[in-house]
């Protein structure tokens, strides 16, 4: 399901003295099955852009085409668009609102007016997918969940709608390392096994570098880079100048290079870094 963003601009509080433009003439196209990372400093417009991608924001200027449907079109079925483009919010507390886990996850399918058995089935599957135990947690009070469990429940609530595109807004923030790794593994699997398009917003460059195939960098409401992950992280100085931290491995390799080691630039994850460093060490030894 392709998504097309054409000349999109957006202002908050339009028509008031507090009006502030946050997106400037954005053009993007995201194809089916892609894994796209969106990065940028805080308040750069990432979330606003992402919320245009499932018609939570309707453009005033420019347009967004989701599977060919213009979200601006008064006749467009926005509800079906929002079911097909799932959105996981930055803070699960804003997303979970039903009293129990089961009810919350069933909220989406319930709104799709599916038959009862189908809803139950989807809830069970979604809980299994994110690793929440159906028996013990189905009737659990939402507020009795831990931070990590809340995240999972939030993701499950979206997965139960069977989206073809998943927009994830900084979903690993505030998780411990293990919880983080589990969520990331889940996202990778959704992309690989079910071929769901993933739009992954994150403030952690390490995560984006190791997950995304393509990266869109946003600064002050403008797309300043849109390229393959490796190409984007090769532009170290530019990224630094807008205040983004680089993936730790990239920084390490960069430091080794400037210290005179002969290494190729742009390693994106630990495994790659290990490979290039061992290769370089072997070469040095061979020369001796």
């Amino acid at each position: 399901m392709p998504i097309e963003v054409i000349n999109l601009s957006h202002s908050y509080k339009e028509g008031t003295p507090f009006e502030k433009q946050v997106l400037f003439d954005i053009n993007l196209s995201i194809g089916a099955g892609e894994f796209v990372g969106i990065i940028g400093p805080t308040r750069s417009g990432k979330t606003t852009l992402a919320q245009h991608l499932n018609a939570l924001h309707i453009p005033r200027q420019g347009k967004v085409l989701i599977d060919g449907l213009d979200t601006k079109d008064k006749q467009a079925d926005l509800v079906s668009i929002r079911h097909r483009v799932g959105y996981v919010f930055q803070n699960p507390d804003y997303q979970l609102f039903a009293p129990t886990v089961g009810e919350d996850i069933a909220f989406g399918p319930f709104n799709m007016k599916l038959p009862r058995e189908e809803i139950e089935d989807r809830v069970r599957k979604a809980m299994a997918q994110v690793g929440l135990d159906y028996k013990t947690l189905y009737n659990r009070d939402i507020f009795a969940l831990s931070g990590g469990q809340k995240r999972r429940a939030a993701i499950a609530g979206v997965l139960a709608c069977k989206p073809q595109v998943l927009v994830l807004d900084d979903v690993t923030a505030g998780l411990d390392p293990r919880g983080r790794e589990e969520i990331l593994t889940l996202i990778r699997e959704l992309h690989r096994r079910q071929n769901i398009t993933i739009i992954f917003i994150s403030n952690s460059m390490d995560e984006v570098a190791s997950m995304a195939e393509r990266i869109i960098v946003i600064n002050e409401g403008r797309v300043i880079m849109d390229d393959a992950t490796r190409e984007v992280f090769a532009r170290i100085e530019e990224l630094r100048s807008i205040g983004l931290q680089l993936p730790e491995v990239t920084v390490l390799i960069d430091k080794l290079r400037s210290a005179g080691f002969n290494l190729p630039a742009g390693a994106l994850n630990v495994n790659e870094a290990i490979r290039v460093i061992t290769a370089a060490l072997r070469e040095m030894e061979a020369r001796k």
Binding site: E14, T16, P17, F18, Q51, V79, H83, F107, M112
Partner: protein
Amino acid sequence: MELTKNITLGVYLPGRSFIHNLDPRTKILAAAGIIVLLLFTRSYSAFALSAIFIGALVSLSGIPTGYALRGLKPMLPVLAIMWVFQLFLFKTPDATVYFHWWIFEATDAGLHMGNLIILRVLFLFTVTTFLTLTTSVVSLTDGLESLLKPLRMIGLPSQELVMTLVIALRFVLILAEELEKIIKAQMARGVAFDRGNFIQKTRKIFPVFLPLFIGAFKRAEELIVAMDARSYTGGKGRTKMKTLHMGRADFMAALILLAYGGLLIFIIISTKPMI
């Protein structure tokens, strides 16, 4: 989907106008005075004078008129319902009947009563909004505290009261933001808040309130912890970094208000009330 756009009550719009620079006590007393006068206003000509006066104040403050009135927009449906109720249910024995429908009668008395109530609400809302638009939370607090200080002697915890009031005012905007987030979360999973007629939209609002209230309680608890962490102990022994001073501008403002008040009272006495 932007709710906060239409909320102006409790919002402060910084500026350097004559009105912005007045002592907050002057502004609070003025607003209170204008509101009391409004409660006695019962004729169209007196309302017209108030409208001109308040309009002049707004333009003097440099706040865009459209923005000062924007907060009324979400209230319009409620006001319309109030007006219809008055039109059909308020009656006087000598009223002229416009038309009958089943057991309801629309009379001229009802029409004027409806108008009176709506005008009062509009003016009350505009005056209070105008006060918060031109006065920052800090000076509003200082002003109110200073005005209520004499009541301490009879045991009224004035500082605490003002604190509560100011927090309530602040929460208007915070709750609206929270509401927006909850609505978005429900929209994302298939509730069409932006589609349907007035009744359909109203019905969809109910499931939003539970999480909103839970969120509000959580926020309140966090606020308590934050206040405790900074050793808030109430008003006793507190000193001020900024002390308030009344100046020539405040004197002038008082004169203008007295002139307005006198003229308004004259009009109220000398004209025929609408009902």
